[in-house]
Amino acid sequence: MAVKTIERKPLTLAERTYLPQIFGGLIITLRNMLFRKKVTVEYPEERPPIPPGYRGVPTLVMDPDGREKCVSCQLCEFVCPPKAIRITPGGIAEESEYAHVEKAPQEFEIDMLRCIYCGLCQEVCPEEAIFLQTTYSVTGTTRAEFVNNKKKLYEMGGTIPDKHFKWEKKRKAAEHGNAH
């Protein structure tokens, strides 16, 4: 690469006294002080805008009919790098009309002290049952408070309207005589 030498102009007397520069700087800072818009977000009252794709607290979600989507396949548990997820597999309660159609977790715990918000659980989930929400502020006073159990996970996650009508398809398939 060719080296290009640049002629530096010698400083004028005014520049060497440094005073006009200081004066110019003072004008700039005064203008900033008086007219510039404040960039501070006053946190508890004001919240920063959350960009789409933000990785906050992982939660479990239900489908529009209020059924749990998780089938306790445990893929998230295995993929989780810090091993924050612990699933106790189980089935759907016998009295439910969906018993024996799918499985469901008996207990589902995410330890927020371990979670690194990587989003791998959301990425790996074949049922789209686990989603990272926009909540970024997780507080508590004991270690136990940071372990989100299944009830809490569904409370935080709520319902996500999805386009996969798995249960509907399964019902129709069963009506036509082939269970799977």
Partner: protein, 380 residues
Amino acid sequence: MEITETILRFGLGLLVISLMMGVCMYAVLAERKVSSWIQGRVGPNRTSVPLIGSIPIIGRFLTRLGIFQPLADGGKFLFKEDVVPAHVNKVYYVLAPIIAFIPALVTISVVPMGQYLDAAGELKTLILADVDVGILFIFAFASLGVYSIVLAGWAANSKYPFLGGIRASAQLISYELAMSLSIIPVFMWVNGPGTDGTLSLIRVVEAQSGWWFVFTQPLSALIFLVALFAETNRLPFDMPESETDLVSGYHTEYSSFKFGLFFVGEYANMTVGAAVMSLLFFGGWQPLPGITWAEIAAWSGQPLNVGVLGAILAFGCFAFKTLFFLFLFIWVRWTVPRFRYDQVMRLGWRWLLPLALANVIVYAIVITVLDAGLPSFLQF
């Protein structure tokens, strides 16, 4: 009578000291607020006190302005753990912050703050101690402040305070010269032929009833201002502290109230410096260049220079100028980056000192010519 006089003096002293402390506290707040505004932030705006803070609009406004923040800051300095590291020289370690604090409070006692005519038509000056050596007294005590930094740097017995102390002593001694030389022309002008010689600041202000000295002697004012920045260890001459290369310089090992004393001492020095600057070059309590309160009073027909009103107006004028220079200190701090140590030394010895010397000589000649006319060999 004697006792009443003593109590009155004592009360006045307390008043001036509390005024000074108030200014220092709010100068710290101003520093934080102004730096925030300059950087596009909002600054301290949460601290509140129960009763005043809950007044509907005013309380909220004051809280947002951070008016109660100095109380919290002061409380923090008082109640934090006062760590005395095991390796320090205890006597000097304790002595240093006291020495940092006292000169600033002593010098304020000879700073005149205003003049008014009392009921008997006698000219009174708002000053604690009217000593004739005025400015010399201030310089003598202000330069004691360097001992605090040297002692703190030495007593802390660790490398950063030590380096900070060395830098500070070199810097303060260097700029002291330029500072003292820069005001000599002012006193040459004040002490015209046929007057009693004086170094009193009151006389300096009275001499500025015409044009202020900043207009007649701009170079003196500039040298004095630059040297003042260096003497008060303010940016861009923030050598002794220089957080980036010396952690925080001479007060690295200090905590709690001792650190608070250093901190307040710095602002007290700034306040006195700003006051002296406005007295020497910006006409003190004179309202506008070329006009005095007496002239305004005569022109408007109102007793604006008499009694309490006169005192308040004159003091207000002086306070306004002083506060402006305090603001200038803060404003420059958040505008100009710090000089390198060798640059500071070069500026002090190779620019300001020769310039101040030349300034003295030029003004000596000019003032002589103005007073006595041209010498015979130059007359045609």
